[in-house]
């Protein structure tokens, strides 16, 4: 995994990006504290295919990377609107 295909900037060296963690649903503002603690601290940390937020640092551009954490393979990079529109058509959790 040396090159990441950024939806805004095209293929760039992986060193130009930072990983922002797995995509997940934010709890509502008035959710109980344990829901928020779960959101802030707990991780799925899955060995396998995950969807994550990544940022191209130089352009501050956030997008979604789908990659395999066992093989270090990048499966897809998508604009957030594209990714979330795709989710609405499936079960909404992002699992494939």
């Amino acid at each position: 995994m040396k090159i990441i295909d950024c939806p805004l900037n095209g293929p760039r060296n992986a060193q130009e990006f930072v990983c922002g963690g797995e995509v997940r649903q934010e709890p509502s503002q008035d959710a109980a504290i344990d829901k928020w603690a779960d959101f802030v601290f707990l991780e799925n940390n899955l060995q396998g295919v995950v969807h994550e937020w990544w940022c191209h640092v130089a352009t501050s551009y956030w997008f979604i990377v789908t990659r395999n954490t066992a093989t270090e393979e990048i499966i897809a990079t998508r604009r957030p609107d594209e990714f979330f529109a795709g989710l609405k058509q499936t079960d909404g959790t992002g699992s494939e």
Partner: protein, 413 residues
Amino acid sequence: MPLALLKYGFRRKYKGDKYFPEARPLRDTYDVVIIGGGGHGLACAYYLASDWGIADVAVLEKGWLASGNTARNTAIIRANYLTPAGVLFYEESMRLWRSLAGELGINLMYSERGHLTLAHSDAALRTSRWRAEVNKHLGIDSELVGRDEIAKLCPEINLSEEVRYPVLGALYHPPGAIARHDAVAWGYARGAMHSGIEIHQQTEVTGIKSHVGGSIELETNRGSITAGTVVQAVAGMSSEVARMAGFKLPIRSIPLQACVSEPLKPFLDPIVVSGSLHIYVSQSARGELVMGGATDPYPLYSTRSTLDFSERLMANMLELFPFLENAKVLRQWAGIADMTPDFSPVMGMTPVSKYYIDAGWGTWGFKATPVCGRCMAELAATGKVPDLIRSFELERFGRMEQVGERGAAAVGH
């Protein structure tokens, strides 16, 4: 070779002394099952027998004995942490380290050579001073030293001001040590086996079911096993195994890489760490420089090595030790570190009754092997969380509490 020794080699009848007793067959129930045969799991097994007389115990290891992070770490041992809970815990570990070789009957090559954490900025100096004060308050030998002192302790460091990050001072921790990591695992394993505890290699836990009010059933690649109590100590695989048991952890699995140089003449006494340069280095008894830095930039369950890592590491190494420009790297490797958000471990109870967790050891858990094994054994034996590890319970995150050690553990291990 002395003749007396050679004589044994030619004797037919002399069988020698097998280091480990013969492995026994896997049974289908045990009082205690420990998942993970790394240093932590083996130490827990050892203390279950030696402190509590509990020997109906099996350690299940999916690969070879201590082939995980125990075999991959850079063996730094120190107690100069930032929080009182952390300092007291790691200090107890150092107390155990000092008599461990004698207790286990194996040469651990425990070598106290001093530990220097270099500060290259005002912010780093401030953190060093903070750590020194917390440390001293709790009786730890630790102080802030200036450039003159650094030049005396380690004349090889480049103290020139004509570099990107000139050295301003350092946190000095005289008892900082290194030890032979494999020997630690072997010593604990042999001690445990001599008390009747079984260690099963090539035995992977693949599923976990807990029965209400009673035992826990473990699926393995060699059939199912029933356990009264389970201790999970699987480092990088913590989240995956916890998922089988039905709960989530505040952990990301991220590779941590390290490397060694070819053997060089002994020149480096202390262990040297620099947070700003993202490096740490010590010289082994063989003369190899053992080097590493911060974790990889993203989570991954693969122990591949990258050129990015060695390239960046060496650029920074050369800033501190320019004379190494022709030294060669001999080996490079990685382990999967179980990183927590506060750089402190997770030890104690879980949502599953009689299923205890020992995880979140990230890049800093080797030094804790003795104390952690001992506390986890006490927990498994008594069902009560020892005071020394109470602050590190999984529940802390539910209360939005953290034991913040980032300033003392992000690079320094």
